[in-house]
Symmetry: C2
Subunit: 245 residues, 2 copies
DNA sequence: CGAGCGGTTGAGGCATGTCAAGAGTTGTGG
DNA sequence: CCACAACTCTTGACATGCCTCAACCGCTCG
């Protein structure tokens, strides 16, 4: 691990408040690794050996069943994933693969579990992080069950605009194929939906999004802070797609 | 609160390991309440003032958006719900209503938050509970995205049989209307699906379920421990529908 | 340059939702 | 105790959202 990584990790909500000694101890048993694009990091069902911290690059969390596959989340720096499996010492429920060249810190799950019995501030941070992940998952589930695909796309486009500071134009942070899977639809259906949304105030050309009539798009999307709101976690810098326990 | 309630609450995973003094302190500020059926306990969006513990009866957690509504979970004794919102001091993401006459313990959220900074064992238990809830939500989301409604129904029926001890016959624990909403489909569609499932090894008459060909049903449902598995929490006695953070 | 991949478009089909009606059940109030 | 209202569940007819399959374009990268 590079020495310059430590401050960045230390700055994470999860590690910010723990004692210096405990932080050092945890980092001492951890190590960094650099992965090429499209590499499988984790296979669902495997035992949870390491908490993963993304320092650079992008990671996709996905799930598979019976030959089908879907994207569950996309993780960007600096944040962690599969905390819950590590805590519970249980098998991963999701798989993970890199989307580009990615640098990751691996923290042994056993050390992690030992640490939050030892450091009260750390355990408080873990609780808060997990609660945030849980709530993000509830939001995602609500969106799936209460909205049709057209409404999900509209909300997503609107939310991305908000994350970028309510700008009218921005670039899609992920491939459309992946976005479709995340939103629970086929690439073909997303493509068609984007076409028809031009009549509702948003134009998408390649990966370029331009909101032409925010009011109209908002009327369609009916954004709701109990679905599209952001769980406040200081360093969860606006990820392209909601996050990742 | 009745004195005989305390042992039952104390037996909950969440409170089992904390110190006697801290448990008493927490209970001192809590109180029990008895609610009639079909009563709204919580409205989504409201601030999270109390952790709820179901002692008797049944509670439905549901979500609403834009005039639509869906069931997210059903909570049965003895377990808790909306822990995550209390921890984060954030608005509820789901609403809750009683399905029958229900007795509930209300634990002030502020005391809860104070306590897990004070009692290490308690905070470990909270972490574990939240991680379990998160994982249950991931399972539910996977089921929604990877399976069609027919497969979801088949898995559900099979899982209920397992929870009852791999019996061939059992009674549906919830109304079909509610089950349909939980599984992300309309009552009409559930009704039709159950009819067609008779050809695949399960017969449903009223609320009575009889598995006539377990192997055939299993081939259709493809049960997967990473979706249908049970997050081990000693006192989470087999709830009718996965649980409830 | 050709292979592979992402994206788009069209045609067609299936799954699922919508609307409507009726049977059976439950709960309630006269 | 009965009558009525309200509700669940079911079934049918119909509409439509979404998926599947296939072809094609353009781009990237060996």
């Amino acid at each position: 691990m590079r020495p310059e990584d430590l401050p960045e990790i230390r700055h994470l909500h999860l590690f910010r408040d723990m004692s210096e000694a405990n932080f050092s101890a945890l980092m001492a048993s951890s190590y960094a690794q650099l992965f090429p694009p499209s590499l499988d990091l984790i296979r669902q069902g495997d035992p949870a050996d390491f908490l993963h911290i993304v320092l650079e690059g992008t990671v996709e969390l996905y799930a598979a069943w019976n030959g089908r596959e879907c994207t569950m989340a996309v993780v960007r720096p600096v944040s962690t994933f599969i905390l819950a499996a590590c805590i519970r010492d249980a098998p991963y429920l999701m798989s993970a693969r890199t989307l580009e060249r990615t640098r990751i810190i691996l923290v042994p799950a056993a050390d992690l579990r030992g640490m939050f019995r030892k450091d009260a501030e750390f355990s408080v941070a873990v609780v808060d992080e997990l609660a945030a992940c849980y709530r993000e998952m509830v939001r995602s589930s609500k969106s799936l069950k209460l909205r049709n695909s057209r409404e999900r796309v509209a909300s997503y486009l609107l939310r991305q605009s908000q994350l970028a500071g309510n700008v009218a134009g921005y670039t899609l942070p992920v491939e459309k194929r992946l976005l479709a899977s995340f939103l629970g639809m086929t690439p073909e259906n997303l493509s068609r939906t984007l076409r028809t949304l031009e009549a509702d105030g948003v134009k998408v050309d390649g990966s370029r999004v331009i909101i032409t009539d925010r009011e109209k798009l908002t009327r369609l999307a009916c954004p709701d802070r109990l679905i599209d709101g952001i769980e406040p976690l200081a360093e969860h810098s606006g990820s392209s797609i909601p996050s990742a326990g």
